[in-house]
């Protein structure tokens, strides 16, 4: 990767990290209606996948942990923050919230409150792309927890049977809430499962910008060119709790992963870069994210207008 690609990824990754940090602070201050599930640790992988997509022709579905996915796809961060905070100007005027982020105009078909529920929906986006010959593909993110859901296993099979252009991205962070993936998955190789269903499949270290980008591009291109499904398992750390505020008593501090953002920073610093470049990028990304979350926090609560429109329709 060129230095320019690395620094661009670095800026975006720090923006996502700072956005999540600002949301966590807003949550602590009682500004968020519900619980937020933060993306800390998955930024590099999600940016790598997004860089392989043709948006919004390609459509993505994600899990409850999709703030980072939305930002990686280029969803308007202010509308995103307003939606998460339940404020006016949110993507869906606050009807959806943190677990139901919808921005198809940017390629985010939807995130989901049901573990694995988003995966069959991506098959539909792939079927539309195939039937309407748009040239687009679908991408469905899910975690190692969802990998044990029937919805996901059925979808892997159906995608092969119907030959649908869909890229499954399993973010394996080792945890389904408090339960270890090694405990919950019978036969611990998720890659082996995917291959048994007949999918082209690869594993990637989701903290490695070079490998993640290369593999995501290779699989996305393969899906697009062949019209067939593929499976990408990415190891990513979950740097924070299941949700913000999770005390994580089930987890010791031993064996915590290193931060992929530090790894990227090291790669940039190993190149011949001007003094202070990295610190400048970081502080700019953090200032930008904080300003956006502050602006969203200052916005009024979403009005009842959207709600009333649906009630009127139901009563008509």
């Amino acid at each position: 990767m060129e230095l320019e690609d690395l620094t661009l990824m670095f800026e975006k990754a720090h923006f996502i990290r700072a956005f999540e940090g600002a949301l966590a602070a807003a949550s602590d201050a009682g500004e968020v209606p519900g619980l937020v599930h933060l993306s800390n640790g998955a930024e590099i992988l999600e940016l790598a996948v997004a860089s392989a997509l043709d948006l919004p022709k390609d459509q993505v579905t994600g899990s409850h942990r999709s703030h980072g996915i939305a930002l990686s796809l280029g969803v308007d961060p202010l509308a995103l923050a307003c939606e998460i905070l339940g404020r006016e100007g949110g993507l869906s005027e606050g009807l959806g919230g943190t677990q139901h982020l919808i921005a198809p105009e940017s390629g985010l078909l939807g995130s989901n409150g049901i573990v694995g529920g988003q995966v069959p929906l991506a098959l539909g986006a792939a079927l539309s792309a195939k039937t309407l010959k748009t040239g687009g593909i679908a991408v469905s993110y899910f975690g190692d927890g969802a990998a044990n859901q029937g919805a996901v296993l059925e979808s892997l099979n159906l995608a092969v049977v119907l030959k649908l252009p869909v890229l499954f991205v399993c973010e394996n962070n080792g945890f389904g809430q408090s339960t270890a993936s090694a405990y919950a998955a019978g036969g611990t190789s998720l890659l082996g499962r995917a291959r048994a269903f007949g999918l082209a499949a690869a594993h990637v270290d989701g903290t490695d910008p070079l490998e993640a980008t290369k593999t995501a591009h290779r699989l996305a291109a393969w899906v697009r060119d062949t019209g067939s499904p593929a499976f990408l398992e990415a190891s990513v750390p979950r740097l924070s709790g299941h949700y913000h505020g999770d005390a994580e008593r089930y987890r010791t501090t031993d064996g915590r992963s290193t931060d992929p953002l530090d790894r990227l920073e090291g790669m940039i610093l190993s190149r011949d870069v001007p003094e202070g470049l990295v610190e400048d990028m970081k502080s700019r990304a953090h200032a930008d994210a904080l300003a956006i979350v502050d602006e969203a926090t200052a916005a009024p609560d979403a009005s009842d207008t959207a709600l009333e429109a649906f009630m009127a329709e139901a009563q008509a």
Binding site: G96, P104, G110, G113, G117, L121, L127, A151, L162
Partner: protein, 334 residues
């Protein structure tokens, strides 16, 4: 006017809507049938409703699926979010237990969660009904339960014309619609208009006028109610029979108008004895027209136990025209 059965009318309606709009696709188990089998003939769905569609419109628009209700109902939902208008068949409504997340959480809520930024033109067709010895897991009628999920529309046709007409409205609707077809009615023949016109969702029909009591019934029970009304007439009781056709949205105005006239309400329904369609109608009428009621409303429903298999037990479980007649007479004497 033409004479045809309910399954023939549905089949014709599928041909009509698919010819008119190439965004309409059909998805389900065995809807073409014999996929992957060499030789052999088309099945066209277990009740023949989708017959001839694959040969006319191609396998790209008539998609046989594996037995994976969650994946294919979800796929249909996602396709409806992205430009297609799928008609997806769940072979028996009992099987919705397998894929209820995709119905209750995904299809029912997607349009709301997008704040109406996309429509969800999804039609789910399914079958229901007892009386043919299919046992506890192929005989239920779940329309009341489904209509309690906000965001779903539910229609239960009783005639060939309504089946075709409601299908046409469902594929044109902004939100997900479940069309529930009673297995015992597929062979039921009646006259239909040649062009099988659309029937508006939420619009009921007065099947028979009367002045003494109002009988509300849908699907197969409309025919039981009609037979009961005919018998009651011989005893000098004039029953008005109303077929709401759509469970949700419910034609409340039509029901209220009738109850205000007759002062008596009997709901005959094949769905749940507890918290089902009958309870919902009685609740709303009691709240809206309490002062007009001359007697306590009556529900005629199956027993509050799973559908039994044996002929004698199933007959005991399932209300008949006789059950309705008896309940109506008791009500008139009260």
């Amino acid at each position: 006017m033409t004479q045809m059965t309910l399954s023939q009318a549905l089949n014709r309606a599928h041909h009509d809507v698919m010819a008119a709009d190439d965004h309409i696709i059909v998805i389900g188990e065995d809807i073409h049938g014999g996929s992957g089998v060499t030789g052999g003939q088309e099945l066209g769905g277990v009740f023949g409703v989708t017959r001839g569609l694959a040969s006319r419109f191609g396998a790209g628009r008539v998609i046989d699926t594996p037995i994976s209700e969650t994946a294919f109902v979800g796929m249909a939902t996602g396709a409806a979010m992205t430009g297609l208008k799928p008609i997806v068949e769940v072979m028996f409504c009992d099987f919705m237990g397998v894929c209820f997340d995709q119905i209750m959480n995904q299809a029912a809520k997607a349009r709301f969660l997008s704040n109406g930024r996309f429509d969800l033109p999804l039609t789910i067709r399914t079958t229901m009904g007892a009386g043919d010895g299919s046992g506890a897991m192929h005989s239920q009628s779940t329309f009341g339960m489904l209509s309690s999920v906000a965001g779903l529309m539910v229609a239960c046709p009783s005639s060939p014309a309504d089946a075709a007409g409601l299908l046409k409205s469902a594929v044109a609707a902004k939100g997900p619609t479940i069309l529930m077809e009673h297995k015992g009615l597929y062979g039921h023949a009646d006259t239909v208009e040649d062009d099988l016109p659309a029937v508006k969702l939420g619009k009921g029909r007065v099947v028979r006028e009367g002045t003494d009591l109002t009988i509300i019934a849908v699907s197969a029970f409309v025919h039981k109610a009609e037979a009961a009304a005919e018998a009651l007439k011989k005893d000098g009781i004039e029953a008005e029979v109303i077929d709401p056709r759509t469970i949700k949205p419910l034609d409340e105005a039509l029901i209220l108008e009738s109850v205000k006239k007759t002062g008596r309400l009997l709901v005959a329904s094949e769905d749940a004895a507890f918290a089902g369609f009958a309870d919902a109608v009685i609740s709303f009428v009691t709240r809206a027209a309490f002062a007009d009621l001359k007697a306590a409303p009556v529900a005629v429903t199956p027993l509050d136990i799973p559908v039994p298999y044996g002929r004698k037990a199933e007959a005991k479980w399932l209300p008949t025209a006789e059950t309705i007649i008896k309940a109506a007479k008791q009500m008139m004497e009260a």
